[in-house]
Symmetry: C2
Subunit: 145 residues, 2 copies
Amino acid sequence: MTAATTLLAALEGSGHRTTGPRRIVAELVAGQDGAFTAVGLESAARAGGVHVGRATIFRAIELFESLGVVERVDLPAGDHAYVACVSHHHHHVICTTCGRSTEVEDVGIEALARTVGRRTGFRVDEHRLELFGICPDCQRVASGT
Amino acid sequence: MTAATTLLAALEGSGHRTTGPRRIVAELVAGQDGAFTAVGLESAARAGGVHVGRATIFRAIELFESLGVVERVDLPAGDHAYVACVSHHHHHVICTTCGRSTEVEDVGIEALARTVGRRTGFRVDEHRLELFGICPDCQRVASGT
DNA sequence: GCGGCGAATGATACTGAGTCTCAGTATCAG
DNA sequence: CTGATACTGAGACTCAGTATCATTCGCCGC
């Protein structure tokens, strides 16, 4: 839940207004504990009894993303999802069962990108690494009892 | 252009019918020389004067994908794109300027995935690595004349 | 505490990618 | 050639995401 605070702090710190709807979206994001989609947030809002316009949710997510406190990931199924994160470069491991995500500090992919650049002649500017698997909890559940 | 042959061969080899529309889609894919989107193929077909139903294009792409001769990638902009490839595990470097893509044989990401697994406790089953940059040709063009 | 300005909101209409259906057609085996 | 059936395509449909714009609200100065 302190995650919501982080999101709001980022808002204030960048000269954006801290409004009611944004506060709500921040809470929703913080309450997701993993990857979430825009549509998911929308229905979460409805389920929570609060009303926030669709456009506002999209705008809020977009804003959080531009502030670096939320990051876009593409699920294997092709959906556009997001995960809250603590900024700076890192990647995510996403549980395909429960959707929870964990951040992974740089594991040497920069070097890997350089290798690719050298090998192909490309100037590699950007990369996206997403890992999918089963989180410890779900493994425990899956492995009988 | 031999790429179209590869696609069609994969079709035949898997017990699927080699039909006119599929042939057309294969040609279109082969003629893209890089990443392409379903919509792009559709308009390419229209531009080429041939007519293939939207549904058919989507189905053909899906089929090629399931045969492993075409792979899905997600562009930084969030579009769903595809690239033709020669199957088995590898990754792509995609030029953000011209869209051309190059395959990269495994560069040690398996090890990287294992490291992540060890560090997070996740059982990493799947990963997606996409590299974006500027290809040699575009670099040349960009760097004055 | 009050007022004004501009940012933010949200209802709604719109866009466009991707899916589904189903009658008609084309492919391939026999 | 013929039948079984896989494939096709027109078009309706769904639904995520965007654009519009009048109204509201947060913030800042007073």
